[in-house]
Symmetry: C2
Subunit: 761 residues, 2 copies
């Protein structure tokens, strides 16, 4: 009798926390309250560059409900951040509009806010440095004394000999691309609650994506032993990388709690969220690329200048990811990449979904299309010809262990009816024109070993009734990891999904994990959960075999039942096996744990090495309609093919791709944080335009299953990918519709119309 | 170089949660609130015996803020409890003053209370059965139809041949003892919060002492799968056994949450706590005992009648513990024990610290003194002569594996200057007389195998900074288990206490444990924690040995440092070892787990077998001053010697003993829940007198360390012991002062004066 076993893996499962979120049971930062809790507010500089000449808090201190007013002078104020160039409060110099000057804790948020307004600060304004050019001009004032050239970081990478590649080129294209500020627009604003217990141990309710690193870093800032910090992560309304760094409001909140000896909460207003939360790194990218007469890529050269703003966050390290795209998206024998991260008095960036790869892919994929034009090839053909295949090692040392690149290129274009549409839309005239364009991307798909360990721990507990608790190091930031990990656990154990609960919010209980970044959670935490589940499954099978006196190999577990492997005949229930272990003389529980460390390596000082256990590929094809008069670009359809290794939760994949495309479309067409004179001019959703449901096109999703050998059930990371190549796909489509190549984003109707008008003239 | 290693074990450590409790951070049931939470109140019968003829809730339902009114007809109302004779709501018959007739959920507690008052119930009153005699009288109405004789439970135990023992006796004493109602007087009143999530899974914030059994039993009552119930235990203001049972308010709360689809909280008023929480089992005990001419005990016979009240809780099984004292406190070759647990319309009892042993020890130790009188021996001598020693097996099969009985007898009397005082106080006259008396006890000290497993699970997690989390199945109910378990873990691992945190409040996270009862936690959960810590220690030592290339045996761990065993020289810190495991190629965390099942057995149907892994012994000597006119008995000093195996937390032991003595003194001198006509007449602390600080005598504590082989570091259970033999010690002292033997408790001044007046006449 042959049996087909139904699998959870690949099915569509709504997020396990969906009901909680919908019926109002989910407790976000906004909902948290503790006995005796105070509310903190921060007074910000509200000017981009100044000396602080004096701060008078006396009028604020005597106001009703005010429990503490602190300035830099009142706290240790240790420097922190990726560049150790930031402090919780600023005592001498203002470098950025959002700079934190003082903070108040009061009985109510309104009282704290009112007290902030009564703090008097004397400033000596300094002329702000507002562009990277101005910052690097000779004789420019040093924004940080220890960086006289105003250069925070530099990156150099190369492989091959670029000049040799240039000589071998039949065609060379070159252009400079300008990417501006966008911000994450998390629907839940930033916030934190800090509370000390009687022994001076701190519990912090944080939105961090990296609780274990956060704990270590926060400890250094506020002068505690990391051991004495417990990080609890409540429900979170979006992160997208914005919570990878610690920002000043967090240690400020801790200090307010320390000073007042009471719990303190700081919660941003929406305006504050726009002004004082991170942005995507603005970049100016000059890039040239060549190919031979047959369309084989010959070289790639890129020079990048990134506007760091006033302080250096993790976001300043995005060149690390950018260079992977320049070095390894398509086969390129000769590559040079140089990036400079430059201090200015603008707002400072943080990490943001895609982590530099949006800017990099926008550049590379725009130029690939230009190159195809020069050669006279279909852009799809040129891409296919240069696409990597399984088993290749890129110049940077990335080992392509599983590869659905070709399937992505072919799948997306087939779905989009690429050849047909391209023919149909060729050389349109008239006011409304349609076009089709494509772009691909490469991103880490099996973690990224940027810390000494890229692993994740899991503890698995089965109880007498077959309830399964997975205690995972991985954090849920809305990306659906809880659901994916529960599915992996249920599948590996052989139990129903509804018996699995995931615990993922308390550093005291969870084993270590490096955090949510680099699209790593399904892969790394999934493998960890799977190992723990496998150990439990083996224990159950062994026990069941002993009970029924049969060889283990003849048994299997499905849907919470031990079955005869060959026939599917019921043998006994899993809870019964568990109880038989528990209620015997040598009583045992079924509790297991595992730690998974991927087989990746840290890159060497030349940025070479296989930094991820596997890589993800994608191609998106955009079909657009352009109104040449109004400049309005309507995206009609995105055909998105993503190599996910193996689908774990189909619904989760769909959600990630749809969300990513919405974000990518916003980056392309509407989103811009307007920073003028160092100030944010549009700190509200009326003036900062994100994509909403009516803006969304038809999305056709092709999930390519390349079955990664190392991935859990073959899966690899998908989180960031969907946002990465939407912009170049749309921009290439606009070029195909209008003949106009945009090298800056966003293409708002105003900008679009201005350009199209030039053509008309 | 010889080194003396300082040990945590035996030191004095304040409870780890003390600061939280003191500064108001501890969140008790009263402090808990959930979004959208409603408040439930219960309408009680307020009469002991009636038929319910009709319930009209219509006027209550339309009141402001009322969200639901439920009666027995509205819910499944499954029967439950140890005797399966209780239901959440009563639909037909009232058997007890506290009977739950209807319940309301409303926006505020006041609205719910007001609505309860508007529910109209028609009763047909029945003559209440108020004594066990009336209940057993022929022709008495059956309180429960399926128990026509009104006998809920019977117990028979014997060993030897009692008649043979009687014949061998030179002296026989016999008396009947009367023990009345007392109640736990937890400073935190009873309460519960129930909340369903979107998938119909229940989270219940409960004060239960037995979360894992609770989950199973509650599931059956409310018709859920135990898998779908998560039990969270907030801070609790005392339990003392009162939370061993599920009481009707808990399933009622669940049903209110189910009906309203909102979280519901029920919190008792203080009056309700006195009326509707359990009591200690009232008992009438006829007992005779004999010895030969040399004072060797010959036999013991006891007949007990216990007033069960209207329903059968776990408390009804106290004869199970009582019989251990009758069978095995001192060497007695022939024993017969019979107990009957009889239904009445009085309030019903629950389990209460000591679990029957207060009543049993009061009886046995009163008669021992009488016997010594008859023989003409010093009561100490008679006790010493009949006291068990290590290696003996009692008639009931209890194996005395470690035994500090003799040390308890000698230690307490030495501290009390027994011989001297006894001489000094002999034959006093006058209004104010002093006396000295003693009593001993025997109680389980290594768990009690009354369920299929008596074990406890532990998970131990060490993090990169050396923070240690113990996730234990054991519950903290104020007894200090958190602290004792942290000490055991720290000691076994070799780390400082302050790095250890204990997680013990969430069934979803914790491994199984049978619950807090039978003074088992330090022994069972302590052994479990120790096993998990030992595994972690071994892993650390092995890793350290590998790192420094030395044999493991040459290294040890103390205070978080790996040391050279022989010299105490520092080798490396524990966090460094942990990180070396974590940040290596084959990355590992230090996470371990263990399950400890004691080597005890379930008793056979004749109640024989070694039910506990070890036994605890104690002797208390009371010195009293009696005012013969006012009847006021002042306790001057208690010298308490307790065999605790090994002291874990000295301060914890002191707290347990002092608290137990206060409770025992209340039982002896002041506490009585006045039940008249089935009603509680003194439901408040003004009229129900507990001991307070000024009432407390000097306490001299002798902690006897018999170093149990199976116990963690030699420790055994202490929780219940201190309350058990205080009453007979005081009563024996009163006898020595006044010549008057009291066989009933409490000896209030009124009762005392009445008796002493008789003597004066």
């Amino acid at each position: 009798m042959s049996r087909v076993r139904s699998s959870l893996i690949g099915s569509s499962v709504p997020k396990l926390d969906a009901a909680k979120r919908v019926i109002g049971d989910a407790r976000y930062m906004d909902d948290l309250t503790l006995p005796r809790m105070l509310h903190g507010k921060i007074l910000r500089a509200d000017r981009p560059s100044a000396r602080i000449l004096g701060i008078d808090t006396s009028r604020a201190e005597v106001m009703e409900g005010v429990r503490a007013v602190i300035t830099a002078a009142d706290i240790p104020n240790h420097s922190f951040g990726h560049g150790r160039d930031n402090t919780p409060l600023k005592g001498e110099v203002v470098r950025c509009i959002r700079d934190e000057i003082a903070a108040v804790a009061a009985d109510t948020p309104e009282q704290a806010e009112a007290a902030c307004r009564r703090i008097e600060v004397k400033y000596g304004d300094l002329p702000p440095i507002l562009t990277t050019d101005a910052a690097r001009a000779s004789g420019a004032r040093a924004i940080h004394g220890d960086h006289p050239e105003n250069v925070a970081l530099t990156y150099h990478y190369d492989h091959g000999e670029v000049e040799q590649g240039r000589r071998a080129s039949a065609h060379v294209v070159e252009s400079t691309f300008h990417l501006r500020y966008v911000t994450h627009c998390c629907l839940g604003v930033s916030g934190v609650v800090a509370s000390f217990d009687g022994e001076g141990k701190l519990t912090i309710w944080s939105q961090t994506q990296v609780p274990f690193l956060y704990r270590r870093d926060l400890a250094a800032i506020v002068g505690l032993d990391p051991r004495d910090i417990r990080v609890i992560q409540p429900f979170i309304g979006g992160a997208f990388g914005s919570k990878l760094d610690i920002y000043p409001f967090e240690p400020i909140c801790v200090h307010l709690a320390q000073v007042t000896r009471r719990p303190v909460k700081i919660l941003f207003s929406r305006e504050e969220e726009f002004v004082a939360s991170p942005t995507r790194q603005p970049a100016e990218i000059r890039c040239s690329m060549g190919c031979d007469a047959d369309g084989n890529l010959t070289f790639r050269e890129a020079d990048l200048v990134l506007d760091n703003g006033g302080y250096t966050s993790w976001g300043a390290t995005t060149p690390f990811v950018m260079m992977q795209t320049f070095s390894s998206l398509y086969r390129v024998p000769h590559v040079r990449f140089d990036a400079e991260v430059v201090y200015t008095n603008n707002p400072y960036a943080g990490s943001f979904r895609g982590y530099g790869n949006l800017q990099a892919s926008f550049t590379v994929e725009s130029l690939i299309d230009e190159l195809a034009d020069r050669v006279g090839m279909d852009p799809l053909e040129l891409r296919l010809q240069n696409a990597q295949e399984q088993g290749e090692v890129t110049g940077q040392g990335m080992v392509i262990s599983s590869c659905g690149f070709r399937e992505c290129l072919e799948g997306s274009t087939t779905a989009a009816r690429w050849k047909e549409k391209r023919e149909e839309y060729r050389q349109q005239t008239g006011r409304v024109r349609r076009g089709i364009g494509m772009a691909s991307m490469l991103h880490v798909g099996g973690g990224a070993k940027i810390y000494r360990s890229d692993g994740c721990g899991s503890i698995l507990k089965l109880d007498d009734f077959g309830a399964v608790t997975l205690i995972t190091g991985a954090s849920e930031i809305g990306q659906g990891s809880e659901t994916a990990l529960a599915m992996i656990t249920a599948e590996e154990l052989g139990v129903k999904l509804e018996v699995v609960r995931v615990v993922n919010d308390d550093s005291e209980i969870r084993p270590w994990d490096v955090g949510v970044h680099a699209s790593r959670t399904t892969f790394i935490a999934g493998n960890s959960a799977r190992l723990a589940a496998r150990a439990a499954r083996e224990k159950l099978l062994k026990a069941a075999a002993r009970l029924v006196e049969r060889p283990e190999q003849e048994l299997t577990i499905e849907d919470g039942e031990v079955l005869e492997q060959a026939t599917g005949k019921h043998v006994m229930s899993v809870p019964k096996v568990i109880r038989s272990l528990h209620f015997q003389d040598k009583s045992e529980l079924v509790v297991t744990n595992a730690y998974y460390e991927p087989p990746s390596v840290a890159q060497d000082e030349k940025f070479k090495g296989n930094v991820s256990a596997t890589y993800a590929w994608a191609t998106q094809v955009a079909e657009v309609e352009v109104d040449m008069d109004t400049g309005i670009i309507r995206v009609l359809k995105i055909s998105a093919a993503h190599d996910v290794g193996r689908v774990i939760n189909r619904l989760g994949c769909e959600g990630q791709v749809e969300g990513g495309i919405a974000m990518g479309m916003g980056y392309t067409l509407s989103e811009e944080l307007l920073v003028q004179e160092g100030r944010v001019r549009n700190p509200c959703f009326r003036d900062y335009k994100i994509m909403t449901a009516p803006d969304m096109p038809e999305i056709e999703l092709i999930l390519v299953e390349s079955l990664d050998e190392e991935g859990p059930f073959g899966a690899k990371g998908l989180g960031e990918a969907p946002a990465i190549c939407t912009a170049p796909a749309i921009v290439n489509a606009v070029k195909s519709a209008t003949g106009r190549r945009f090298t800056g984003l966003p293409i708002t109707p105003e900008r679009g119309a201005r350009e199209f008008m030039k053509d008309a003239q």
